[in-house]
Symmetry: C2
Subunit: 187 residues, 2 copies
């Protein structure tokens, strides 16, 4: 079977996927993206982000609609629990990135997927962020992702997960870190 | 003015905040948390996470409600654009964590805030995740956070941002990285 026999696999349009790869090979500048979020403090530990515009493929673009997400602390962390904590959104991002990647990779390899579920657990000791210990880091001490996949041969499925890990943007950010610059306009 | 003169500042219940600190000093085990997300693949690059339960303060807890978040790729990245990309959720998490922290820190220091806004920009070259260059990393090459704060004296506001950076869980994760273990049940 060739790829063109089945241009949509696992919901991935593989014809477009390969055409995109060819376009980027011809014009690498297409691959430079900038993603953005704007955030507005609401009250206490509650804030709200909007995600809409981004730069990519040599032009300013927008998502089909603006997406708005709140974040807050639960009552046990002196918040009003309007939304998950910021740290929980990192777990969502990690699971979603690995999952999108493995769907693409499976499609490119003609591997069928019928089910992908994951649970992400992040262990954190708040002695760090509370300023009560200099021996404890502020962020997660470790994160565990547990995947359940069903579809083709288990060995093929495991290889797809491994390749997704090797090519995941969020996995790279979370495991290797990124330089972050902070600018302040204080009026 | 003492703290008890104004137990709620910037929407932060400082009395509860300091009581929480005292409780954790007495019983450090309270500070061990585990946050979680479960994710389910929908189709193509589209997946959906649920955030509800977590462990903390020596017990299983839940947010007041379960929160559900989608993630997808835009059309230019061969997705259906049902939601932001996973990588954009990292930017939301970073802005929200720094903002929650600075609201808490300002309240603890008796610094008034009237406005906090931020824009987060993450530059990424997709030659990495597309597997087209071994010289380009998969994740963001750099992230810039631009804060606009209004309230008390600008120097105090800048100091609050700096202290938030020093005690932010997500800033630590994003700048320093975290070990991530991946387990696969492939059927």
């Amino acid at each position: 079977m060739t790829i063109t026999d089945n241009p949509v696999r696992n919901g991935v349009d593989t014809a477009t996927l390969f055409a995109t790869l060819d376009a980027v090979k011809a014009t690498p500048e297409i691959a430079k993206f900038q993603f953005r979020a704007t955030n507005r403090w609401v009250n206490g530990t509650h804030s709200q982000s909007t995600i809409h515009g981004f730069y990519g493929a040599m032009q300013e673009m927008t998502h089909q609609q603006a997406h708005v997400y709140d974040a807050d602390h639960p009552a046990v962390l002196v918040g009003a629990d309007n939304a998950p904590t910021p740290a929980e959104f990192v777990l969502h991002a990690l699971a979603a990135c690995l999952t999108a990647g493995l769907a693409n990779i499976a499609a490119a390899r003609n591997v069928n997927l019928t089910e992908v579920e994951s649970t992400v657990e992040g262990d954190i000791d708040l002695l760090g962020i509370l300023g009560l210990s200099d021996q404890v880091r502020n962020g997660y001490q470790g994160i565990k992702v547990s995947f359940k996949l069903r579809g083709d041969d288990p060995e093929k499925l495991r290889a797809v997960v491994e390749q997704s890990r090797r090519r995941s943007a969020v996995y790279d950010v979370v495991t290797n870190g990124v330089p972050v610059a902070i600018e302040v306009d204080a009026g």
